[in-house]
């Protein structure tokens, strides 16, 4: 095992983390501001990927597809908020889980109805094809570097949006006291729709970017959704900073676990068995880390003050 391989795996972990951050940021924002558990967040990720694949296939341009995915997922988010989610703010979490679970089923079968049962094709744009040499690493896939770049830009953008703009101020105010900012004349209903659409657009962006790396198919959002929930629980629900740190922690731990655990077991066991046990433990690793963190910090690493 070389240093180059180790650095490459760290980059892989970082890239997975950045992708999770795009999902988790929207999820945690929606939970923080509106107190809503949105299981259908993974469906918005799927909507983004399908929109990008369909538009890219029709126009031949990934970039137009990417714009379309942002528009489609934000629109899907806004419509869902107005039609369904709006009625759920005053209900308890169980009702929210049930309703948003129903949304998952509707989105999934809706996509299947629109695009058919077979997975869609979405390729990486020509500009980002192939691998580039990195000092100390050898070859590294250009597109993954681009995903890391986009993640960093989004993280900085969100920070400015929340800390420096009027919209961000309202979001923060909405988080602390919903009735009070309503009484001060802020249109809280529109604010919620905007926040929900923003979260949806981030999920759609993640879906479109990841869709080029894997298969665009019905149900692609749910595995990511589970990881995104782990991220926001680790990071502290409602905290964007927590989502960023949680996402990178989960990404790196998951990647390094998959890579290193079988190797560690191989020191004492035959290769085939070490592979099996290592893989089994690697798939549990992030949950073990989550349990460990919650044992010491029950409300996550960067809990928003309640």
């Amino acid at each position: 095992m070389s240093i180059a391989l180790l650095i490459e795996q760290l980059l892989n972990g970082l890239q997975l983390g950045v992708m999770l951050f795009l999902m988790a940021a929207g999820l945690t924002l929606i939970f923080g501001v509106m107190g809503l558990i949105n299981l259908a967040h993974g469906s918005l990720y799927m909507v983004g990927a399908f929109a990008c694949a369909a538009v890219a296939a029709a126009t031949g341009s990934f970039w137009i597809g990417l714009v379309a995915s942002l528009i489609a997922s934000a629109a899907a988010g806004a419509i869902t908020e107005i039609v369904v989610i709006r009625r759920l703010y005053d209900r308890d979490h169980l009702d929210q889980v049930l309703a948003t679970f129903a949304l998952i089923l509707m989105f999934s079968e809706g996509m299947r109805w629109l695009f058919g049962s077979f997975p869609l094709y979405l390729d990486i744009p020509p500009l980002l094809q192939g691998a580039v040499p990195l000092p100390g690493v050898g070859q590294y896939q250009l597109y993954r570097l681009a995903i890391i770049g986009v993640g960093i830009v989004v993280a900085i953008g969100l920070y400015f949006l929340i800390a420096r703009t009027r919209l961000g101020m309202r979001i923060r105010a909405g988080e602390s006291d919903r009735e009070m900012i309503g009484a001060l004349g802020v249109d809280i209903r529109t604010l919620y729709t905007v926040v929900f659409a923003l979260g949806a657009a981030l999920a759609g962006l993640a879906g479109a970017m990841v869709g080029a790396l894997q298969s665009v198919q019905v149900g692609m959002g749910e595995p990511v959704l589970i990881l995104a929930f782990v991220v926001i629980v680790i990071g502290g629900i409602g905290s964007i900073k927590g989502a960023l740190f949680g996402a990178i922690l989960v990404g790196v731990v998951d990647t390094m676990g998959r890579f290193l655990l079988p190797k560690i077991f191989a020191l004492v066991l035959p290769a085939a068995q070490a592979g099996l046990i290592g893989a089994a433990l690697a798939s549990m690793l992030i949950y073990i880390v989550m349990a460990f963190i919650l044992a010491f910090r029950p409300s996550g690493l960067f809990a928003a003050q309640s």
């Binding site: 070389s2 049962s117 019905v218 890579f259 592979g275 089994a280």
Partner: protein, 378 residues
């Protein structure tokens, strides 16, 4: 998570029994028609329905239901088909874990089950049954073929598969015939979509070839990421990641990849030509290996119906076992454990115009059975 999505039942071409002595046969088809795996089930169903339609046989009634790729739903549907629909035969299941949940129970109630795809090792060996016919393959077969084929060109292969029973069967099957050294052996998570960590290890391992079994979306993700990684080691695998339903989503990344299967659309026999033509004319797409196996299953049933009444179970089982039908795979017969003895081919992904498809480039095994037949006592 229980998906109770439009599980449609459509009885098909049920005409009033014309002939007095013709015994109508009711066939229960449980397959995956919703969710991520729906492409496979759709191909299975379409080929089956088309074969029945083409035969013009009026004595067949189909009960088709969607299992949503969930074992618990498949079990409920099977129970309903046996108890209230009173089906004579069952077929359709795509996935091994669903087959394991449904088949042992169904065959113990004297229902004849014909598998158009899954072939878990347990049902081929100790748990085999006279009521269970596998028309597709035993799970290890395609992987064994790739192991055999790899001996020709490769000395150091890196192998990977998901960490679940079919994944373990796969690597066991590959290693049963592969004589070279292993550069690495990795079990990935089921449903994993990011393979950067595994590809980095392949790059680092000094392997001269890669064998992988990653069905469905996992394989699409792996192939796309592999093609972008700058790793140029040749890839091979069973046909599941290179079948007609998946190739359009993988794209050009799949070009040139060697894969193993019992069937390809260019297999030279009359039955196959007629099948590919009919399927394309009806559905306007190329059939996959799942469609081919399902087509054979339907024709096997029709051949047995011509010989025996389904009410006389012994005679009907004997008629099935004779396998007296024109298989699109050429020579086809049943082993002692009711699993196929057939050729397994090596195919290469090519481009015909704009369409990615497979072409046969060699035969890995002739008249190949499976490793578990000896354990089957019936």
């Amino acid at each position: 998570m229980k998906k109770t999505i439009a599980a449609g039942i459509f009885g098909l071409t049920l005409a009033t029994a014309g002939l007095a002595n013709a015994e109508p046969v009711k066939i229960g088809v449980i397959t995956t028609l919703s969710g991520g795996g729906a492409g496979l089930g759709t191909d299975m169903r379409d080929a089956f329905v088309l074969a029945m339609k083409q035969s013009g046989n009026k004595d067949v009634e189909l009960v088709i239901e969607d299992d949503a790729q969930k074992p618990e739903i498949a079990v409920q549907i099977a129970e309903k088909m046996i108890q209230s629909d009173k089906v004579d035969l069952m077929t359709g299941i795509i996935w091994s874990n669903l087959a394991m949940a449904v088949v042992p129970n169904a065959v113990s109630q004297d229902i004849i089950y014909l598998s158009p795809n899954a072939g878990p090792s347990a049902l081929a060996g100790a748990k085999c049954s006279p009521n269970y016919f596998n028309v597709a393959y035993q799970n290890d077969n395609f992987h064994e073929a790739m192991g055999q084929y790899a001996n020709k060109d490769y000395k150091k292969t890196f192998i990977l598969a998901p960490n679940y029973p079919a994944g373990k069967d796969s690597l066991t099957g590959f290693k049963r015939y592969y004589k070279g050294e292993l550069a690495g052996e990795i079990y990935t998570q089921v449903g994993q979509t990011d393979y950067a960590a595994e590809i980095a290890q392949i790059r680092d391992s000094g392997a001269d070839s890669v064998f992988f079994f990653l069905p469905g979306g996992m394989g699409i993700a792996f192939m796309k990421q592999y093609a972008q990684s700058g790793v140029n080691i040749p890839v091979m695998g069973p046909s599941f990641s290179f079948s007609q339903d998946i190739l359009p989503a993988v794209g050009d990344a799949a070009l040139g990849v060697k894969n193993s299967a019992s069937w390809a659309k260019d297999l030279d026999n009359e039955a196959n030509k007629a099948f590919v033509e009919a399927f394309q004319a009806e559905y306007n797409r190329l059939p996959s290996v799942y469609a081919a196996q399902s087509w054979d299953t339907a024709n096997l049933i029709l051949s047995a119906m011509a010989k025996a009444s389904v009410k006389d179970k012994d005679a009907f089982r004997a008629a099935l076992k004779a396998a007296d039908f024109k298989s699109v795979r050429g020579d086809f017969s049943f082993n002692t454990n009711n699993h196929p003895i057939q050729n397994i081919y090596v195919r290469e992904v090519i481009k015909e115009g704009d369409v990615l498809t497979n072409k046969i480039i060699g035969t890995a095994f002739e008249k190949h059975g499976d490793a578990y037949a000896e354990q089957c006592k019936m």
